[in-house]
């Protein structure tokens, strides 16, 4: 790593902290300040008693000035005593419990969809115009158009329930039984990946075709490199840059609870399913926690994507400032 790269990374991480702070303030304002009415009443749930509301108001300091309220919220968030008044459980702890499940889903699915997207995108681009390419175009379109809840339900019903090839939903901890863990995740991974495979392989195909007409690819051939090396080292390396950007952002979104449908269909009880339940019950502290968690991962992965981008494309590093 040279000094330009180090400076870029430091700058990018600092700006990430700033954005995280801004996001937390925004969440605070949106949930506790902007809506009319008493925030304590909203948090307390559907049929609260006067004492409950009073206790919540006291706890969150809703009588205090705004900055004190914000600090109280952040303190509760980090100390883990932000409590859902429906379940009486700590929101922070519940999210922590859901994270390994969501991470398992996200990491596996992201690897699967990227691997398939690269393989299919490259194949399509090399065969551009041929029947196999056209067939893949149609398949990609079908994959993009299939709703996850429908595909997930079909997979769970036929492969899980009817044929019994896979467990019908649920989750087993990796530390308890790695094989069972894998077995329970195959269907969710696949269900979540299909959309991304279709989408990414299309993006990659057009990137590759564009790159192939670049002058430096002609140079690479003129150097006497093998066609395979030209394709992998020069064409693919340059075409992957935009796809990696998408990858980072989508991965961040899935970890932050974005795979609500997949998690719910397969009963994984990750962050996404927690979010779905919290919203359904209008459980304000839980929704707040999930929102902050989602925002955190999206912001972090945005920063990581920018850093990866700079590592992949040396032209970014010198430009200074904002990166992309």
């Amino acid at each position: 790593m040279n000094s330009a790269m180090v400076r870029f990374v430091v700058r990018r991480l600092l700006s990430m902290l700033l954005v995280l702070f801004a996001v937390s303030v925004l969440v605070f304002l949106i949930f506790n300040v902007l809506p009319s009415g008493d925030p304590a009443v909203r948090m307390a749930g559907k049929i609260p008693t006067e004492t409950q509301i009073e206790a919540i108001r006291e706890e969150w300091g809703f009588d205090e000035p705004l900055y004190v309220q914000y600090l109280t919220m952040m303190k509760k968030l980090f100390s883990g005593d932000m409590i859902s008044y429906f379940t009486q459980l700590s929101v922070t702890e519940e999210i922590w419990k859901g994270l390994p499940r969501t991470l398992s889903l996200a990491i596996g699915a992201a690897l699967i969809w990227m691997a398939f997207a690269i393989a299919l995108g490259v194949y399509s681009a090399v065969r551009a115009g041929a029947i196999s390419d056209r067939l893949l175009t149609v398949l990609a379109l079908i994959g993009i158009s299939m709703p996850v809840f429908w595909l997930g339900a079909l997979l769970a019903y036929y492969l899980g329930f009817k044929l019994g090839l896979f467990p019908n939903g649920g989750y087993v901890e990796f530390t308890v039984n790695p094989l069972e863990w894998l077995w329970h995740l195959v269907l969710p991974w696949f269900a979540l990946s299909v959309l991304f495979i279709g989408f990414y392989s299309r993006v990659l195909r057009s990137d590759i075709l564009e790159t192939m007409s670049e002058d430096f690819v002609r140079t690479a051939r003129a150097k006497g490199l093998s066609e395979r090396r030209v394709l992998v080292k020069h064409v693919l390396r340059n075409s992957l840059i935009p796809v990696v950007t998408l990858w980072g952002l989508d991965f961040g979104a899935v970890i932050g609870g974005g795979a609500i449908l997949t998690e719910t269909v397969f009963g994984l009880q990750g962050v996404g399913e927690y979010a779905a339940n919290a919203i359904e019950q209008q459980d304000v502290p839980a929704v707040m926690g999930v929102t902050l968690c989602g925002a955190f991962f999206i912001v972090v992965f945005n920063a990581l994507v920018d850093i990866a981008y700079a590592a992949l494309d040396p032209r970014i590093r010198l430009e200074g400032g904002t990166g992309r």
Partner: protein
């Protein structure tokens, strides 16, 4: 040039199957390049110069391309050679540099790595040895502080410096032939002169043969030994630099030279221009391709004239025109 030519092209024809129809981009091209010789191929855009060069490198091969004729280089038949065989030759015995040095290098790799990659594609040498060689080459083409600069990325170089990098890369395996396709067109005038000087110096010090493709007659006059003039896919005239510049035989060459200001001639009031535009290669005119624009066309012209020596005193001065030599003498501007 005496002895066996390094490169001998005969009857080379290249056509592309496009959606609009068959494009005969190169038709019946004959060329010879001797060891240490600089052959310039001149002509306007679309005359088939670049296609000829790329075909020699095997870069035009594809499902929609038909290539016919012969091209022998160092005893290898290039047209008939397998892809694998050609790959072993290009970048190794025969190299090519391109018009736009800004986009001809891969933006994501350091220039040193790109040279090392080429060396290791052809020779089984360790990385550090290839790197030493790359630095030597960068130094030889006039890149200051080559050891540090080898670790720079292409975007950190100016256009002229990038073309030097391209030249260093092209020379990395000591090829006997360098094909330079419009090597200075994208560069500033002062930088053009430097690149031309470099090419001339490489030709003289290493005996490197060069095929220089250009539409810049001034550049050609500076470095070429022999000149081939191309028009609409065919060579219309070929000869030594002096023969082409001082005794041109083909009306197209007259027009080409007439469109230049020359300090060895009285200044004309107005530069000549050739009326009309080059023909579409989808449906070229029958016979001589220049016929529709030629002020001297007559009844023989609908038949294609061969590329032949028509002057008894100059056996290697060839042209493709039916006019009698005496008539040409009179008509010559």
């Amino acid at each position: 040039m005496s002895g066996n030519p390094l490169l001998e092209v005969s009857d080379l024809a290249v056509s592309f199957n496009t959606e609009e129809g068959l494009v005969q981009a190169v038709d019946d091209v004959d060329l010879q390049v001797g060891p240490g010789e600089v052959l310039a191929v001149v002509g306007e855009s679309g005359s088939g110069k670049s296609v000829t060069a790329m075909t020699l490198m095997g870069l035009t091969r594809g499902p929609n391309t038909t290539i016919a004729g012969r091209a022998s280089f160092e005893g290898v038949e290039l047209v008939a050679a397998s892809d694998e065989e050609l790959r072993g030759i290009r970048g190794n015995r025969m190299s090519m540099i391109f018009q736009d040095p800004m986009s001809s290098l891969d933006p994501v790799y350091r220039v040193g790595e790109q040279i090392v990659e080429q060396i290791r594609a052809h020779r089984d040498v360790p990385k550090d040895e290839a790197r030493r060689r790359a630095i030597e080459l960068l130094d030889a083409v006039g890149i200051p502080d080559a050891t540090t600069r080898a670790d720079s990325y292409p975007h950190e170089f100016s256009g002229g410096m990038r073309q030097r990098v391209m030249i260093a890369m092209a020379l990395s395996l000591e090829p006997s032939l360098l094909i330079a396709d419009e090597p200075t067109t994208a560069l500033d005038v002062t930088i053009q002169a430097q690149v031309v000087d470099l090419l001339r110096q490489l030709n003289q010090s290493r005996g490197l043969s060069i095929v220089l493709i250009s539409h810049d007659i001034g550049l050609v006059a500076e470095v070429a030994d022999r000149v081939a003039v191309m028009y609409a896919g065919r060579i219309v005239e070929q000869g030594s630099l002096d023969e082409i510049f001082y005794d041109p035989q083909h009306p197209y060459t007259w027009g080409l030279l007439g469109s230049l200001t020359r300090i060895d001639r009285p200044r004309p009031r107005r530069l000549l221009q050739i009326p009309g535009a080059p023909p579409s290669l989808l449906s070229p005119p029958q016979g001589c391709h220049f016929r529709p624009r030629c002020p001297h066309a007559f009844e023989r012209c609908p038949q294609t004239p061969g590329l032949e020596a028509r002057l008894p005193q100059a056996p290697r001065h060839l042209d493709r025109c039916w006019l009698e030599s005496e008539a040409k003498q009179e008509l010559q501007p």
